[in-house]
């Protein structure tokens, strides 16, 4: 019945992220997690997605002045997109390196900004695209495909 329909079912979840709002990242991740559990996705896929969301939202909170996170769920994939207005990334390849960080001392002191965010996101996503302009902002697009093992086994 689903296949014969002309439209693809989809859900969009949208979150505002304020500057230095470190709590919102956890909230985003846990809200999306609940939704994906209801959709019956496999636990390890949900985990990967939650990491991407947490890290991406955290990046916006740490480095941008304002931004948003949009999660788009379709039957075979999820797209996680952050758009922000802020510092931007000078050298994306460098920023992807584990441990490379431009976070301020203050943020590091709070236990964030260890330089693992982007490399974590890269590890967890099947497809990652980052566009950035220094002094303007950054757009990140990460995708995770559900493939066949998307169902809970014996749920």
């Amino acid at each position: 019945m689903v296949d014969s329909l002309a439209y693809t079912p989809q859900i969009t979840l949208d979150f505002e992220i304020g500057e230095k709002d470190f709590f919102v990242a956890g909230e985003c991740a846990s809200r999306v997690k609940k939704t994906l559990q209801q959709l019956g996705l496999k636990q390890d896929v949900i985990k990967r997605i939650a990491i991407i969301i947490y890290e991406a939202a955290m990046n916006v909170a740490i480095h941008a002045t304002s931004g948003r996170l949009v999660v788009h769920v379709e039957p075979d994939a999820i797209t996680i997109r952050t758009e922000d207005v802020g510092a931007g990334i000078e050298d994306i390849d460098l920023a992807m390196k584990e441990g490379y960080s431009t976070a301020s001392y203050e943020i590091r002191e709070m236990g964030f900004g260890a330089g693992m965010g982007l490399s974590n996101i890269k590890q967890c996503s099947d497809d990652l695209n980052i566009e950035s302009r220094v002094g303007v902002g950054t757009t990140l697009n990460a995708r995770v495909f559900f493939r066949d093992e998307r169902r809970h086994e014996g749920a």
Partner: protein
């Protein structure tokens, strides 16, 4: 065995169909339909919140009765630590233990003693543990069941050991069988329980295939009998010392007792299922990675707050603490070396992994689940958002879910129904104003020029 056996059940005649219980249930497992509450079997975690909440006492815990003792040749009572907090101040531990012999038990084995073993095992386990923290206590089955359905990610952090109830049953039955020569199968162990979750845990255990416990008797059922036999130990040939558990095991009866006994570098203890939920939300978001051990109890105050206990939880706690202080034995029954031996034998490790139960899933098929989610969001946005519960579902979102699942209608919402009635009333009014053309000539306002 019934996959969805539950101790918590409804006495239909007593239920007035009020919505107190549905609002309080931590897993939204109750609905009111046709004027009666109804427990959604696959969701219930047997926490007993509804038993406490119901003003009409329509929610009850079904436990075993003393009648079941007759099925075994040799009967052992396993009283929960919190049981000892249910008596007046002049009653001491020996009196209570002795009373079990007066009501048909051959032996009494304190679960507190087994708790000390579990405490030691978890303590040793945490010493070498390098994995994800915190480790959660596995002692409260209602909490573990909650995690199965709402926090499946955290299940791998549940301490992989049997509960004190289970350990007590195994040790007591083995010892009794060896001592008396009665076959193990003919020795019955009966847990004296403050809560319904333990009944369910015996029937469908989570960390082992088969429970060694043969019956779970509610404290509420056995209390009067015990009171009547409190002096029995004197009548039965003098005081034989029955008490073996120290304060470390006895304190498992109230919240913090377990974590103190486990004695890890950093511990946290939380009681009350709604508090447990808010803490698990935090932990799921990545908080508390620096804490070694978290003791979680479904009941406020821990087991002394259990729904089958007699005393108010605070009264129970102070009685228990006082009792431990005044009558607690100082000498540990097991030596450090014996405890270490038990730990090394690894006999009380969980043999079954605690599996997640994905009962919140909207549909087996992801595409259909997404479609349902779309509709769910749509319906939720059209509902008033009062979460009043008058429809019989605990919240507007839950009603929307029930509509999607086909077990409720939009008009179950009283506000929605009123809107519909208003529209209908307006339509009726409009209709009543329309005068048939054949009669319009006679109307006073009618244009006199038009008549026939």
């Amino acid at each position: 065995m019934n996959r969805y056996f539950h101790s918590v059940t409804l006495e239909t005649e007593k239920c007035k169909g009020c919505t107190n219980c549905i609002k309080r249930c931590p897993v939204e497992a109750i609905r009111v339909r046709d004027g009666k509450a109804m427990i959604v079997q696959e969701r219930c975690i047997d926490c007993g919140e509804c038993i406490r909440e119901c003003p009409n006492h329509a929610k009850v815990a079904v436990t075993d009765t003393l009648g079941k003792l007759s099925e075994y040749k040799y009967r052992i009572a396993l009283p929960a630590p919190s049981f000892f907090g249910q008596f007046k101040e002049q009653v001491n531990i020996e009196d209570v233990l002795g009373a079990f012999k007066g009501i048909g038990f051959d032996e009494v084995f304190e679960v507190a003693l087994a708790a000390e073993i579990v405490g030691h095992i978890v303590h040793q386990f945490l010493k070498d543990y390098k994995g994800k923290r915190p480790i959660f206590s596995s002692a409260c089955p209602a909490v573990v069941r909650l995690m199965q359905i709402k926090y499946p990610d955290l299940l791998e952090q549940v301490a992989p050991f049997l509960t004190p109830m289970e350990v007590a049953a195994r040790i007591a039955k083995e010892q009794a069988s060896r001592r008396t020569g009665i076959p193990y199968e003919e020795v019955g162990a009966f847990f004296i329980s403050p809560c319904p979750a333990k009944v369910t845990e015996m029937r469908n255990p989570m960390t082992t295939k088969h429970s060694a416990v043969n019956g779970v008797i509610g404290i509420n059922l056995i209390y009067k009998d015990i009171i009547r036999h409190l002096g029995d130990r004197y009548a039965n040939g003098g005081p034989e010392k029955l008490q073996r558990a120290t304060k470390f095991g006895m304190a498992w009866g109230y919240v913090t007792g377990e974590s103190r006994n486990v004695d890890a570098a950093t511990t946290l203890a939380v009681g009350g299922i709604h508090n447990v939920i808010s803490l698990l939300e935090e932990i799921e978001r990545g908080e508390l990675k620096d804490v070694d051990f978290v003791e979680l109890q479904a009941c406020t105050g821990g087991c002394v707050g259990g729904p089958l206990n007699i005393q108010n939880l605070f009264v129970g706690r102070i009685r228990l603490r006082d009792l431990i202080k005044r009558f607690g034995t100082k000498d540990a029954y097991f030596t450090e070396a014996e405890l270490q031996d038990i730990h090394l034998q690894n006999r009380f490790a969980a043999t079954e992994p605690v599996e997640p139960r994905a009962i919140m899933t909207l549909d087996e098929d992801v595409s259909r689940a997404i479609m349902k989610m779309e509709r769910l969001d749509q319906i939720t946005s059209e509902l008033p958002g009062l979460d009043c519960g008058a429809c019989g579902s605990p919240s507007c979102r839950a009603l929307a879910e029930d509509i999607i699942r086909g077990i409720a209608f939009e008009t179950d919402c009283v506000i929605k129904l009123r809107e519909k009635v208003k529209i209908l009333a307006k339509e009726i009014l409009d209709l009543s104003r329309i005068v048939p053309t054949s009669m319009s000539g006679s109307s006073k306002e009618g244009d006199p020029g038009q008549g026939c």
